[in-house]
């Protein structure tokens, strides 16, 4: 019988400092065969840990098309384990298991304008969707990206922004930018209000809990259909397979039935958002 908690060794092959507290790691499984057979979907996550430091769930932020070569995790330093992980260097190894969760059902996005709204480090699981759109793997006729962040220092994936900007309507709004910032200031909701969004759009939102309520209210005013709004939720998790109960919301498990949910299906579950 397979041990569902057994981790595999993955080696860091490159690191990019994304922000003051977030590093982007590219991992390859030490076991080459594992890497060759590795497959995941946008929106799925891995459990990553270190012996004696525990495990935590982290969204995969590379494109599924790179799965046979590597997978990338953007890790924010928010606790002892992530602090330790962020101190690792190229060549170091970590223990991973996964992928877990349902991921985005991109088939449902086909032929609809795509709107991506991310807040803070909630932007991490959205990156694979953008990469796949830019590379023509998600067939949509239009992409709008709204990225809300605290300041310039906390913006992620800055190197890729010029490319994204060429391929989409890309809006960044910073809450507390420096004096040099020429872009939009304030909450992302304000940027959304100002712009036209096609009512036929599929909208994917990931961010801090407080963001969902305000953003979704604006989207509904713009006549976006509840069944076209998707969110990806963050919860405490241990097992990753719907047993340990920590991530439960109403009848669902964020680790197994999520982390991606159609808003229509969870809007009436108290405490889900």
């Amino acid at each position: 019988m397979e041990n569902v908690y057994q981790t595999q060794k993955a080696r860091i092959v490159s690191i990019n400092r994304e922000s003051l507290d977030t590093m982007l790691f590219r991992f390859k499984f030490v076991d080459k065969k594992l890497q060759r057979n590795f497959a995941y979907l946008s929106g799925q996550f891995m459990q990553i840990g270190l012996a004696s430091w525990g495990e935590c769930p982290i969204s995969i932020c590379s494109s599924p098309s790179d799965g046979k070569e590597f997978f990338e995790l953007a890790i924010r330093d928010v606790g002892p384990l992530t602090h330790k992980l962020n101190s690792l260097g190229v060549g170091d190894v970590a223990d991973v298991r996964g992928p877990y969760g349902n991921g985005f059902d991109v088939d449902k996005f086909i032929d609809k304008p795509l709107v991506i709204i991310g807040g803070g480090c909630g932007f991490v699981p959205l990156r694979p969707l953008i990469i796949d759109y830019v590379n023509g793997r998600i067939k949509n006729n239009k992409l709008q990206i709204f990225y809300g962040c605290l300041n310039e220092q906390t913006l992620l994936f800055k190197k890729e922004h010029p490319l994204w900007n060429r391929n989409s309507e890309f809006v960044i709004s910073l809450e507390k930018p420096s004096d040099k910032w020429k872009g939009e200031k304030g909450l992302i909701t304000a940027s959304i209000i100002k712009r036209d969004i096609d009512p036929k759009s599929v909208v994917v939102i990931v961010g801090p809990p407080v963001m969902y309520k305000f953003v979704i209210a604006e989207l509904l005013k713009k006549k976006i259909k509840p069944e076209n709004i998707y969110v990806s939720l963050e919860r405490k998790m241990y097992c990753g397979k719907g047993v340990c109960q920590h991530c439960a919301i109403g009848p669902y498990y964020v680790c197994k039935d999520g982390p991606v949910f159609c808003w229509k299906n969870i809007k009436d579950i108290p405490g889900a958002l």
Partner: protein, 325 residues
């Protein structure tokens, strides 16, 4: 207990296994390890503690850390018999079997564990258990998992049943040949859904904004005792031991009433007040478990009501929820 067959059976299991059974301890009926058959209580009453620690220890090592390598721990699983499990507790055990079906640690332990159910009056007078959470079928044994079941009949004789090949082997080994094989046909009858369970599932799912939860939250201390004694509360935490002598990854019982249960990095807690916590507990029992396993997540044992320091009675809560329009 003068029945000859039972005596042979008991002599056999005490020779072959570590025996866990209900026994009187300071006037309370407690499930624990017993040294001899005379200690066992055969009243069929509900022990104060559940059997779950026999199948899911409160703390168990999953991996040992060897340098930076996590190696599956070679736990020792002694041969254990859970002896005298009543029908409601067998229902809880049946649920655990399903929940941990692909859990290698649970299954290894289970392979060395024999489960012996028991009823003091057969055919069962289930009314005495005051079941409120589901319908109780007449052909109850077919819906329960066990290895051996012993029933005390009205004429004071004992009838033996086997529920698995291991159970059959054991009975044969102890020279009990007139047993009946019971074939498990699922936790609920195939022909009819448990309407009571489904009604409760819907009522609880839709009751989040009802006053009952505010009222319970006013008195509930979120102490978590109900969860500790509940035979179907199986949630757990994984934790790494920072013990330099013996580092590794352990699994231990979780408790959804405890403060850090839902806390994510950065401090956000989806379950942040007593109302959310107590509702979460009921949703697990009456919504999630029925949805996933098509069986009730509460077996009506009443243990939680007995330990609750502020007198919350699950039977009454369920009665009140049923009345919500």
């Amino acid at each position: 207990m003068n029945d000859k067959k039972l005596k042979t059976f008991l002599a056999g299991v005490f020779d072959d296994f570590k025996v866990f059974a209900p026994a009187k301890n300071d006037g309370k009926l407690v499930v624990g390890e017993v040294a001899k058959a005379e200690e066992i209580d055969w009243s069929g009453q509900m022990p104060v503690n559940p059997w779950k620690k026999v199948f899911l220890p409160s703390e168990e090592r999953l991996f040992s850390a060897n340098g930076d390598k996590l190696v599956e721990n070679k736990n020792i699983y002694p041969k254990v018999v859970a002896l005298g499990v009543n029908v409601l507790d067998l229902r809880a055990f049946t649920l655990l079997e399903r929940v941990f079906a692909d859990d290698v640690y649970y299954q290894k332990r289970r392979r060395n564990t024999v489960v012996v159910g028991y009823s003091p009056d057969w055919p069962i007078d289930y009314k005495k258990y005051k079941v409120f959470s589901h319908n109780f079928e007449n052909e109850i044994l077919e819906h329960l998992l066990f290895d051996v079941f012993i029933a005390k009949l009205k004429n004071n004789n004992f009838a033996f049943y086997s529920g698995s090949i291991e159970g059959q082997k054991l009975l044969e080994k102890y020279n009990i040949s007139d047993y009946k094989n019971i074939e498990y046909i699922g936790s609920t009858p195939k022909t009819s859904v448990d309407r009571k369970m489904l009604q409760l599932q819907e009522k609880v799912a839709k009751s989040a904004d009802k006053r009952i939860w505010n009222e319970l939250a006013k008195i509930c201390l979120a102490c978590g005792k109900c969860s500790i004694v509940c035979p179907t509360c199986f949630c757990f935490d994984l934790e790494d031991k920072v013990d330099p002598e013996n580092p590794g990854r352990i699994r231990k019982w979780g408790n959804c009433f405890y403060n850090d249960f839902s806390r994510v990095a950065g401090g956000y807690k989806p379950l942040d007040d007593v109302k959310q916590k107590i509702y979460f507990w009921y949703v697990h029992k009456f919504v999630r478990i029925p949805r996933e396993y098509k069986m009730p997540g509460c077996v009506s044992c009443g243990r939680c009501s007995k330990v609750c320091p502020v007198g919350i009675n699950i039977g009454k809560v369920i009665q009140n929820i049923s009345k919500i329009k």
